[in-house]
């Protein structure tokens, strides 16, 4: 099967799974922005995306997307190291116009992955997973909280400065991954030419910046809210 055997086929899997993850991130951001402006709206979304069959199915598809992306990231990187050969150059120079991120996608990916584990432990495990286990309340910082009260979770975690900093660092890694990933995915699909090349690169940078600033905005907004104890807004 060409999709699994050929180099371009494997890259296509990488790019489609990457684009899928990008679409998910975009959706996730929209959801988070809602939380800043209306916690009850956010909780409604959380209830809607609780342990219903469609939300669980969606989560499974998403998990499959991540697994495919990561498995292929590792396969491709290993194959590429082999293709490079055992003898390395003594002098290495990164040619101008070669993005640093393009040469460090696996490292960036693993940083993203590390935080995903943290993120899932903090939110998904205590929300959807707990519900699936038949709980409707979980313990959070010494209190019992409903599994669909997403806003309470956000407020709890983002009042802690180390978590805020960790998340911000994560967005930076994500930014680097996306500035290369976005246009690279389109190039892999073949949707590029001399004219669109620079356009896609600009779109990549703008998109990655909007996504990451958006997430950062939500994180910082909740931290600031926690400082004033909710009295300021």
């Amino acid at each position: 099967m060409w999709l699994l055997n050929s180099s371009i086929g494997k890259k296509l899997i990488m790019s489609i799974s990457g684009v899928f993850l990008i679409l998910f991130l975009t959706f996730h951001l929209c959801m988070n922005i809602a939380a800043v402006f209306s916690e009850s709206a956010y909780n409604m979304i959380c209830a809607f995306l609780g342990s219903n069959w469609y939300a669980v199915a969606g989560t499974l598809v998403l998990a499959a997307g991540f697994v495919i992306h990561i498995v292929y990231a590792i396969i491709l990187t290993l194959e590429n190291r082999k293709a490079r050969g055992n003898d390395r150059y003594a002098v290495n120079v990164r040619p101008k116009n070669v993005e640093w991120s393009s040469q460090n996608m696996l490292v960036l990916g693993f940083i993203v992955l590390g935080f995903l584990v943290l993120h899932f432990a903090q939110f998904w495990y205590k929300m959807m997973f707990a519900e699936l286990m038949g709980h409707h309340e979980v313990e959070l910082g010494g209190q019992m909280v409903g599994t669909t009260e997403g806003a309470t979770f956000i407020k709890y975690y983002f009042s802690q400065i180390w978590i805020v900093i960790a998340y911000l660092a994560w967005y930076v890694a994500l930014w680097f991954h996306l500035t290369h990933g976005f246009w690279s995915a389109l190039q892999t699909i073949g949707w590029n030419n001399t004219v669109w090349f620079n356009r896609w690169k600009v779109v990549s940078d703008v998109f990655a910046t909007v996504i990451c600033l958006g997430f950062a905005f939500v994180t910082i907004a909740f931290y600031l809210k926690s400082l004033c104890g909710g009295a300021c807004c």
Binding site: S7, A83, R84, Q187, T188, I189, N193, T194
Partner: protein
């Protein structure tokens, strides 16, 4: 003004494909900056022969940037620090008095070292043999203008055809990928009516050969494009991806 300079060379020496290689250091004095890089290596070899030592083996032929025979990874760049030139077109004026110049062979699993700085690039020939041609029945020479070709396509095909098959793309690539070369060879024909007829078969055959020979998977770092002596654009890689994916989807 060109001066005479003194330089130190660190050159990769390796007796054979299976021998272990190492860097040797040589000093050259009074090298004219007006000489070419390969002339400088000729001077080095003359000096080595006079000393009763083995000369450094390196590939070269036309020495005017058209044959694709010269290689050399000089100070971290395939074809040296200059842009858009081959090693044979590189001049010593790009270097200063007292410089140390490190010269390595192409390093890629697809291009094993034969000796010293010479590598085996027949892998690229095999990829061409797999499909980089147009099948024609022999007969009278057709009129060049019988088939009208839009200027834009002719220009893009000509730009792709500038590839001399030197291998710098795979040598520069952290993934050891030959995609820039293959995409140039697929594009130069796929863009023209004469080549379109076999475009699908060609893309499939050449990519299959490239994968079989152990070249890596392109991750769009663009190092190839930046180091290519003929400025082949990575937009050709997008075209190759397109041609290949469509060809497979149509099967």
């Amino acid at each position: 003004m060109d001066k005479n300079i003194n330089i130190t060379l660190k050159v990769w020496r390796q007796k054979g494909p299976r021998e272990k290689g190492a860097f040797e250091t040589y000093k050259l004095t009074d090298v004219s900056q007006g000489s070419s890089f390969l002339e400088m290596l000729d001077i080095l070899n003359e000096q080595l022969i006079n000393d009763g030592k083995e000369p450094v083996v390196f590939d070269h032929d036309c020495r005017e940037g058209i044959c694709g025979m010269c290689s050399l990874y000089i100070n971290g760049h395939p074809h040296g620090p200059d842009t858009s030139v081959t090693t044979c077109q590189l001049h010593m004026r790009r270097f200063n008095d007292g410089d140390t110049i490190t010269i390595e062979p192409w390093r890629s699993a697809g291009f094993p070292v034969i000796r010293d700085l010479m590598v085996d690039r027949t892998a690229y020939d095999k990829i061409i043999q797999a499909g980089g041609f147009v099948s024609v029945n022999t007969g009278g020479i057709p009129d060049a203008n019988a088939i009208p070709i839009p200027k834009k396509d002719a220009d893009l095909a000509m730009d792709a055809a500038a590839c001399i098959g030197c291998g710098a793309c795979a040598a520069a690539c952290k993934n050891g990928s030959a995609m820039l070369f293959v995409s140039a060879k697929v594009s130069q024909l796929a863009l023209l009516p004469q080549g379109k007829v076999e475009a699908a078969r060609r893309a499939k055959a050449m990519v299959a050969k490239m994968d079989e020979l152990g070249f890596g998977n392109c991750t769009n770092t663009r190092a190839c494009e930046m180091e290519c002596p003929k400025d082949i654009s990575v937009s050709n890689i997008a075209r190759l991806n397109r041609e290949f994916i469509w060809a497979k989807l149509k099967d």
